[in-house]
Amino acid sequence: MVEGQAPHRTRIRLRTACAVFGLLLAGSAAAQAPCAPWPEDPTPLPTVHDADPLRARWAALRLRELYAAARALEARDPARARALWQHASCLAPADADLARRARAVIPAVSLHRPPIERGGVMPEASDAWTSLEAPIAVAAPAPIRRATVRPSAPPADAAAMALVDETAANVRAARFEAALTSANRARADGASLAPRTRAALEVWAATAALALGREDEARASLGRALDAEPNLRLDSATSPKVRRAFDAVRAERRQ
């Protein structure tokens, strides 16, 4: 039984706290039982449901500490945060949320494909790491004209042209699935499109398909581009991967 509670005039000593925290973070990768007590923990490791009220209280308080520390670490160092969740889960084995956090899989690689836009003002991001995904504004010189993008007479249907533009915008913004969808719709509505524009549409579609790893689909698009414009030449800004696929398709046709 708890006999007394001492009044507290707690002064949190940040230096001490950080030093202890540093000790914690300097942890070893040595294998250990998942619920082995840490050196300063009571042995055996109590849980929040311990029959001894003092040990149960210790587990509850340690759980609060671990929870706060893991939350603080999660964004910056998820692997260590997960280890803290694991220890917390040992103190409260019935807590499903803790168990889920302790088992979480942490991807080692984060891929970012920020859209590239024209403009002098960079969009704001909430922090450095989310900024990697945010649009990049570049005050670039006038775009290199892709010879295949400009439609020749007769004037094309406005809706189909809008879909071609949408496909191009989707590829630029790395929305590849959306690019393929808009390309399909443009094909369906694009009977009036000029051959050069149809070829440009197919090059955008091939770019999207290659980005998604759909090589057959990309080759089919490039074949349609050559159908529309047998003398099609890609401009120098075209990705080498698209160019290689295009050269391969054209070589096959010549055989």
């Binding site: 001492a6 942890g27 003092l54």
Partner: protein
């Protein structure tokens, strides 16, 4: 005179009526057991970061809108630096970026040693980058991985790379990222343009790390004193685990916590006691509790 005699007789009678004094018993023994918190607070230090910018010739390619990939990488990296906490330690390197560099060339340090994210030298070095020469992003990532100790460091490392993934040097990006992951290093890959990233990158996971304090915190000292105004220290335990013998009388136990815990109690002779203390000062006032637990004397054992 008669009064003096009467008083003497009374004192004599009183003395004869009192029980004989007991022989002094074995001293009581007091031990301490502190169940402490870790005193955890969010660590002040930020992660260390290695920033790698692909400045090979392939980065002179333009996206469909006509933007040169290196320009996009430059703007993204500069914004990222500005948004980082100023104290973050950043190493800035480029793959390529110099005439004569080739696929086997090591990544080039753009600024000597790690710098704080707010250092203007980093922004300037990025601005001066030019897309020339060749280089392998994968090899540059291997170099970073090899410099990381196998055991996770107290300050985690994170790598950010900007690339159009068109370097053409052929080394395996997946193997390089896996080498980083094995050492607990996360990779943020910013892909500029439509080049597909290897699917295997999405399957890499960070390994589990075991955490525990590298060593136990310093033991808590406690002293046992005579209770009352004329306090005298009977004994102290500096090592925390060793018990202190105390005469069988009212005693005061002073535990050197922050703030100190002072508990008074009388200990019968020849008994053993553990003062169990729960101490979590960081969690706020009131998060300290204590109790006395009697210990059975071991058969034939001395305290």
């Amino acid at each position: 005179m008669s009064a003096v005699r009467a008083l003497s007789l009374a004192l004599l009678a009183l003395a004869c009526a009192a029980p004989p004094p007991e022989p002094p018993g074995e001293p009581a023994v007091v031990a301490l057991e502190v169940m402490r918190g870790l005193g955890m607070a969010p660590a002040a230090s930020e992660a260390r970061v290695v920033a790698l910018i692909d400045a090979t010739r392939s980065m002179s390619l333009r996206d469909p809108a006509g933007v040169v990939y290196l320009d996009a990488a430059r703007r993204s990296a500069q914004r990222w630096l500005r948004d980082l906490p100023a104290a973050t330690s950043v190493e800035l390197r480029s793959v390529g970026g110099e005439r004569g560099m080739h696929c086997a060339s090591s990544a080039r340090a753009l600024v000597a040693g790690p710098q704080s994210a707010s250092d203007v030298a980093l922004q300037g070095a990025i601005e001066r980058l030019a897309p020339v020469g060749e280089g392998s992003l994968a090899e540059a990532l291997y170099d970073v991985a090899e410099a990381v100790p196998a055991a996770p460091a107290a300050t985690p490392l994170r790598v950010v790379a900007w690339s159009a993934l068109e370097d053409g040097c052929g080394a395996s990006l997946c193997s390089a990222a896996a080498a980083l992951a094995r050492r607990g290093v996360r990779l943020d890959l910013v892909v500029l343009g439509p080049a597909p990233a290897p699917a295997c990158l999405g399957k890499l996971e960070l390994p589990r790390v075991s955490l525990e304090p590298a060593r136990a915190p310093a033991p808590v000292e406690f002293c046992v004193e005579r209770a009352g105004p004329d306090a005298a220290v009977w004994g102290c335990s500096k090592s925390g685990g060793l018990p202190v013998a105390t005469p069988p009388s009212a005693a005061r136990v002073v535990v050197r916590l922050e703030p100190p815990l002072i508990v008074e109690r009388s200990f019968p002779a020849d008994t053993r006691w553990v003062l169990e203390v729960l101490d979590f000062p960081v969690l706020g006032p009131g998060e300290r509790q204590w109790r006395w637990r009697p210990l059975e004397r071991e058969a034939g054992g001395a305290p």
